[in-house]
Symmetry: C2
């Protein structure tokens, strides 16, 4: 094969492989109908009454939690919060509650043995984001009530992400035990103090209780599931992610090694910046929207019929959501001109390759002529079933090597596979039945476009569900809040109702 | 033509055009021999004696100049220095010395009418670089003498770049006039106060005296031409440059407009960062060393026979200079594996395309998942005869447009064409004859790989020569100095000899 022909075939490769992109389409018109699931019929009036009578104490318990700093990024109050959680679990009756040391912040685990047939795992995070320097109307760790346009609110760091929902859940547990003597199911609490850091050591915490975890029927993540209008969305999955840095540096192959050199030497010196640009460019189509790494789309499975039914249930709302989403993201046109069904399918069922950042050389104002000795990019890929971080990275490395970019270093920064829960899982069905009891039939979504490390549970075949009612907002932002007493006419649940929902859910799961 | 075929041809285009790169080669083995030029035989003993007797005053004049701040970037002392230069010129006898207002800092021009047949233009810069925050052993504007490993030195900002050589030149003029009553040639001084800013308004200064400039026989730029060993290199040209920013932004074509969005939205949103990477990648070969913009090499003329003779004169030294240059630039391998003659030819006679900087999105430590709304690169191209900044930029724009990158913005930051002086120009020949008189036969180089805006003179057909003896270093660095009294045994000229060289040169040019 002569050189031109070889080059030709190489150049054509992207065209060929671009066509391997999965054709995302719907093969059924059936739609998942959450409203058709029979509302939960249980009534646990004594427990409800107990909750109603204990509201001052229950709110105080939440306030006690948000007043305890637990900023994982700054290591502020982390161990104190872990200890507070452990002690609360012990007081409730968790016999084996303990801190689990990790290479980072400790986890907390605890097992409540109700002597029940079924065991539910409860995933918790006890850490919070750092406090923003500006914008807070109150002290972020004072845990004070304020008047909010939606009603009376507890405004504090952690109010909604995630101490509010979690301590509300514990309030529900205490109420059940106070009235009935024990819980309707066994509970295995698994908490981490590094969620805001990307859960780097959570697998170490999970390993500690893996035997017990294999016995549970599902995993609950307490959250406030209502938006400002009171609507509930139930999400059944998350994408995975692989995050890495690609770097070109001067070295044996060429380019200045230790420091930048004068720009005029480009005439005779290789440029790591060009090298990185060329290596990156080899990964996608010219519009940056199709990954041309051979095999990258191969492991993506088409949406299951069940997932398609959920998608179909979303599509009615989608045409009205699309314009507001466009506005919120400040976008004039979606990638590839997609709209409607195609847009939604690619959003939730397609993998990505994204440049989070790139830098090299002089980036200040005006003119400076240098040949930088180093160029770096941060790149992430969102992963859908059945992609894995290992295989994604292997394919990228293999492609770069085959294209001759063996000099480009790849540094893995983190990653985990996607996680998926079936809409037909009893945990999901029973949660929907409880939502329906409260007149809050949820919209379902098969998956978030974002990522979370739920694979630690789903890899064991466990369904995972973030569930709850109530409303909060401002996670990772100033003036984070949870609504305690919504205004008259709101569909949002107040604190006692938030707790009653969890009571019902635990009995429904029995 | 079907789509695949069209795409195929488009993809092949770079291969085709890459082969248009000029084949730089030598067609003569003749070598320029500076030693064969007869040494200047003039002796101007009365003037030399006058210089020797005035050394305290002459050094004081240089100190007066370096003590006057003139930091163009910070607008510190600029007008005061321009006024000092003008007043000095008037005192010497320049009748029309005056400040020339520009859109930036003023220029200074002056004409000395000796009633001579010939007129020499003298290019000067009166501005200096800002002072580095750290590393200075003395106050940068105190103008003090220090002991240096090479001898006694004046250590100050501007000592070598460029006040030292310039005021030494004026000392020579004063001495000639004091002894002989007038200069042997008419002089047209053209000075700017923005050299360190890239000479953005120098054409405005030149325009002021363009009529007179058309009458001159050449342009002299006073400098200290000796290195630490006392060797002299005479440089006959500079590359031009075009410097621009390339930017991709969200907009009608896609991508977030006002701000970054969450990285997971890459699934449905175009990425300006990918777009910039792809546009940049379309400009070069995969190794970044060959420009694949069609026509980019077309206007490059081969080295003339005269230039080849100068190259041949360099080649003897080149094999020994190459390793030390490699070490100084911290490079293990030259681009394309070039060595020897090919390396030198490409260094001096080839154009470049260089990424000076690139930036987009998150560039801090760790992981942050965003889709940036903007990506920018600083790019420069060094230009050789007969390239022009306008044509270079037009070809790049045209190529981007033809490849579909019409959305990529190009912002011109500055640029000017290359400049070349012939080795056979009388100014060059006579300067060499004076160097030979001092036993300092210069090495010649046909061109610097770097750039300077000498085109303002050479476009008028004028030879331009930076010439002088003496030694200084540390331009744009702490502890800038000029050697006033070299140690015993040094081949470097002391201050009186520096001035006598200029005396001889002016008489030689008569």
């Amino acid at each position: 094969m002569n050189r031109t022909l070889a080059a030709l075939l190489l150049l054509l490769a992207p065209l060929t492989f671009a066509q391997q992109r999965p054709d995302l389409k719907l093969t059924t018109t059936e739609s998942f109908d959450a409203a058709s699931i029979r509302p939960y019929r249980g009534r646990h009036q004594k427990i409800y009454d107990y909750i109603d009578a204990r509201q001052a104490e229950h709110l105080a318990a939440i306030q006690r939690w948000v007043r305890q700093r637990s900023i994982s990024a700054l290591n502020e109050g982390v161990t104190d919060m872990a200890t507070m959680l452990r002690d609360d679990l012990r007081r409730i009756g968790f016999k084996d509650a303990e801190l689990v040391p990790t290479s980072g912040h400790p986890g907390v685990v605890g097992f409540y043995d109700a002597g029940a047939k079924k065991t539910l795992a409860v995933y918790m995070m006890y850490d919070v984001q750092p406090v923003e320097a500006e914008g807070w109307k109150v002290e972020a760790f004072d845990g004070v009530l304020v008047d909010h346009d939606l009603g009376r609110a507890l405004m504090a760091r952690g109010a909604t992400n995630q101490k509010g929902p979690e301590r509300s859940f514990l309030n529900a547990l205490e109420s059940i035990i106070a009235v009935e003597g024990k819980l309707p199911v066994n509970l295995l609490v698994i908490a981490e103090g590094e969620e805001e850091l990307g859960s780097p050591h959570f697998p170490e915490v999970v390993a500690k209780v893996e035997e017990r975890l294999r016995q549970v029927s599902g995993v609950l993540f307490p959250m406030f599931g209502q938006d400002r209008q009171g609507n509930v969305t139930v999400n059944l999955g998350v994408k995975g992610i692989v995050y890495f840095e690609m770097e070109a540096k001067g070295g044996e192959r060429g380019g200045p090694v230790g420091a930048e050199v004068h720009g005029s030497t480009k005439a005779i010196i290789d440029s790591p910046a060009w090298r990185l640009v060329q290596a990156l460019a080899s990964l996608t189509s010219e519009d940056g929207n199709t990954i041309v790494v051979p095999g990258y789309y191969d492991s993506i499975r088409p949406p299951t019929v069940e997932e398609q039914r959920v998608i179909n249930s979303m599509l009615r709302e989608w045409s009205s959501r699309e314009p507001s989403m466009k506005e919120a993201l400040d976008v004039r046109r979606w990638a590839n001109g997609w709209t409607g069904e195609q847009l939604l399918l690619h959003y939730l069922f397609d993998t990505t390759l994204n440049i989070d950042g790139i830098w090299s050389g002089y980036t200040g104002p005006g003119v400076k002529t240098i040949l930088p000795h180093k160029a770096t990019a941060k790149v992430d890929s969102r992963l859908v079933p059945d992609q894995t971080p290992e295989e994604a990275l292997r394919l990228i490395r293999q492609h770069l090597d085959r294209q001759g970019f063996t000099d480009i270093e790849i540094r893995l920064m983190g990653g985990y596979p996607p996680a998926q829960t079936s809409a037909s899982a009893p945990l999901v069905q029973q949660a929907i039945s409880v939502y329906n009891k409260y007149g809050l039939t949820p919209a379902l979504t098969p998956r978030l476009a974002g990522s979370a490390p739920y694979y630690v549970f789903t890899r064991l075949g466990l369904p995972l569900l973030a569930a709850g009612i109530g409303h909060g907002s401002g996670a990772h932002a100033p003036n984070e809040y949870m609504l305690v007493n919504p205004k008259e006419g709101s569909r949002i649940a107040n604190l006692p109702t938030i707790e009653k929902f969890y009571v019902d859910l635990l009995y429904a799961l029995r």
